[in-house]
Amino acid sequence: MSKDYDDYQNLKSQSVESEKEDTEFLEFLRKIEYPNPPNSIVEKAIASYERDYKYRILWRSIKLKVIEYKEALFGTRGGLEIALASTLILFILSGVVYYQYTKPQNNPINIIANQETPAIKVSPNSSDTPIATPSPIQTIRQDDTKENNQQAITKNDTKPRKPEEPKDLYKEDNNIAINNLKRDKRTNNSVKTNAITNAKKKSLTLSNLVYVAVVDLKTGDQEPELIDTEIKQELIQAINNSGKWRLSSVKDAEAIFKKQKNDGALVLFDKETKNILWKNIDYINNYKNNKDYIKTTVETLSNYQKQ
C-alpha cells in the first residue's frame, strides 16, 4: 500500500515538474549539429513526383499556355504579334492538313495503281486524228466501254474539235501528258516522276505494236455491209504496206481492228487488256470523202512507233 502511494507521489511530482520544461538543456541539445541531407533526396523525390503526376503536370502546363496565349492575344501582357503569328501559322497548318486528308481521290498514286495500259481516245468528229491519251485518267477500259464511250461521244458532240494532222500525234500525246502533270502539281515530286515515267511507258504500247488482225466489220450477226468489206480490205492492204505492222490471225495478234457493237465505230483494241488504242466513229464518211483515209490512218498509227 505504501509502495503504491510512493509510486503515485513520484508520478505526481514528475507531472508537476514536467509542466516546466527544461528549456536550457533542450537548447543545449539543439546546438548539436547533424549532417545536412544530400540534394539527391529532394531530387529523387521530385523525379518520382514528376513520373506519377506527369499527366497533371502536362495538363497544367497546357492550361497555363492557353492562359498565357489568351493574355497575349488580347494584349493584356503584350506579345500580341507572336499570338497572331502563331494563330496564322496554326490556321495555315490546319488548312494544309485538311487539304491533304480530304482530297485522296486526287492522289495520282491511287489512279495509276489501277491503270496499266494507255489508250487512244478518238473524238467522233475529229475524223482524221486519233488523240493519244497517255494519262491514266483518260484511259478507257474495254470493260467499261458502253458507258464511257457513250459519255465521250456525247461530250465531244457538243464541242466539236478541229481536225489535226496525224503527224502531230506524238506531240499532242506529250502535251496532254504534260498538262495532266501540271494539273497534278499539288502532288509531290516523287509522285510526279512516277506519273511521267508511267505516261512514257504507256505511250510505248502503241509503238510496240507489231501483229495486227482485222476481223469482219459487222455488228452482231448481220452480214457486213459492202462499204465495211471494202474498208476491211483497205485495212489489210494498208497493214501489209505499212512495213511496220504485220497482218496476223486473230489468235496471234496483239491488237485487232473491229467494228464496235454499240456505236458502230471502228476501233483498234489491245487483245490482252481490251483497251481501245484507237477509235473513229465516223470512219465510213471519212473514207467516202477520202479514199486514202484508211491508208493514211494506218500509216500514222504504225509510224507512231518511230517517234
Partner: protein, 192 residues
Amino acid sequence: MEIDGYFSEFTDEDLVKEFTVGNKEAFAMLCKRYDKLIYQHILRCVRNREDAEDLAQDTLIDSYRQVRDFDPARSKWKTFLCRIAAKKILNYLRTRKRRSNYFVDLDENQNVISESTSNQEFDLRELRNILIEELEKLSPKEREMVSLRLDGVSFEEIANIVDGTYGGVKVSIWRNLQGIKGRLVELGYKLF
C-alpha cells in the same frame, strides 16, 4: 531561385493545393522546406546515413502519394510528414538486424575534424554520439518523441504523430531528457 522566392510566401497548405494540381515547383518547395528536419530526425533514430537517406526519400515520396489523407483542418503538413516518417522509422527499427558494425560515424566523409576544429566543436561531436547512444536505449516510440522535440515540434503535434496524449507525451519527453541529462553529468560534461 526566382521560383523559390515566389513560393516562399506560400503557406504549406497552399503549396499542397498547388502540387496536387501538377505544380512541380510547389512540391519542390515543400521538399526543400522539410527535408532537413525529416532527414535529421530519421538520422537520430536510425543512426545510419544511407538508411536515413532512403527513409527520408521514401517519406517525401509517400507525402504526395498519401496527400489525400492530409487534412489541413486537423494537422499541419509538417505533422503529416512526421507521421509518415514515424511509421517508416518504426517499421525500420522493427525489421532491421542489429550488427556490430552497423553504426557508422555520422561525420564520415564530411571532414568535420580538421586542424581548425576547435575543442568545443569536438566536444559537441562527441556529445552527439553520446546523445544518439542514449537515444538508442529508449524504445522506438520514446526515441521518436524526444527526437521530434529536439526538432522543435510541439507537444500537440508530437502527440498527434505518435497517437498519444498531450500529457503522456510531455511527461515521457521530460523523463527521458532528464535521464539523458543525468547520464551526461555522470560522464562529466559541463552542460551549461
